[in-house]
Symmetry: C2
């Protein structure tokens, strides 16, 4: 792990930690896909990450405090990766990246529905989502009166997938 930086600029420092093509992808899958094991991250990867890259990124992200790792009590070899406060606070960056990507890049409907919800919900929704991630990953107490943002994002995604599948079937 390096501990000398190119400059003290916050943009630069953020880039030095997260400025590559895979780190944020891994965190995104843990955050939005709730994938907590190595194999889940490897096999369900939308972008097809290689196992050595995944292993390297997980190690680096744990070293730098963006993830934590603990043994899975149900399986001696499994580790469970969790977000930390540091990575949970990336939610606004993900939301803004989602907004930007939706406006300027050729996104697919299925994979951008969550970005759309985050954009429409704005900062209050992001805060709710972050609180929920703290419950899920930091063992923070859960407020049972609040509906789950995680579930809402997931449901919206599955709905689009189902709708498009039905439309494809009808078109045959």
């Amino acid at each position: 792990m390096q501990d000398t930086y190119r400059s003290g600029c916050p943009i630069n420092l953020t880039l030095e930690v997260l400025g590559d093509r895979w780190s944020l992808i891994v965190i995104r899958d843990i955050m939005f896909g709730n994938r907590r094991h190595f194999r889940e991250l490897l096999q369900n990867s939308e972008e097809g990450i290689a196992s050595n890259i995944l292993a390297d990124r997980l190690k680096r992200l744990v070293e730098r405090g963006l993830l934590s790792r603990e043994d899975d009590p149900s399986h001696k070899q499994k580790g469970i990766y969790s977000l930390t406060e540091m990575s949970i606070r990336l939610v606004p960056i993900f939301a803004e990246m989602g907004t930007w990507g939706r406006h300027f890049m050729p996104v697919s409907e299925e994979l951008s529905i969550r970005a759309q919800l985050l954009e429409e919900g704005g900062r209050p929704l992001w805060e709710d989502f972050m609180e929920e991630l703290r419950v899920l990953h930091l063992h923070a107490p859960r407020d049972p009166s609040k509906p789950s943002v995680f579930d809402r994002l997931r449901a919206a995604y599955l709905e689009v997938v189902a709708r498009n599948k039905a439309a494809a079937a009808a078109a045959e």
Copy 2:
């Protein structure tokens, strides 16, 4: 230039275009430092970018629509690099990255004062700043009644630099 992407996810697509250690640094210097020529970007670089990397990134960013390049009429060899609407809309991402970096990374005061102002000003300030960048880079008409966010960010930065220099002189 590539035109096949790993997936249609907005986060991924943003990362495929901007996910490296230099692209956003270059855009940051054009945006916040108003550096428009190759040499300005090279020599004033806080992080010490190499000339071949800078040349490569400028070319890529122009190809991908994040920068435009025109000849400088005052000098046959000079080119002037400008932001496009695509890169101007990165302001919210920069702001959120600045906020995150300030909270979790060892930033320097001088280089993070602008991030602090952007954080405190919130989205209304970002919108003003983006409108101003459109005037500066897209030749959009300027509203003369509005005070310049660019000047405010620059003044705050210079003030911190001066204050710290004075404090350092007094300490001797």
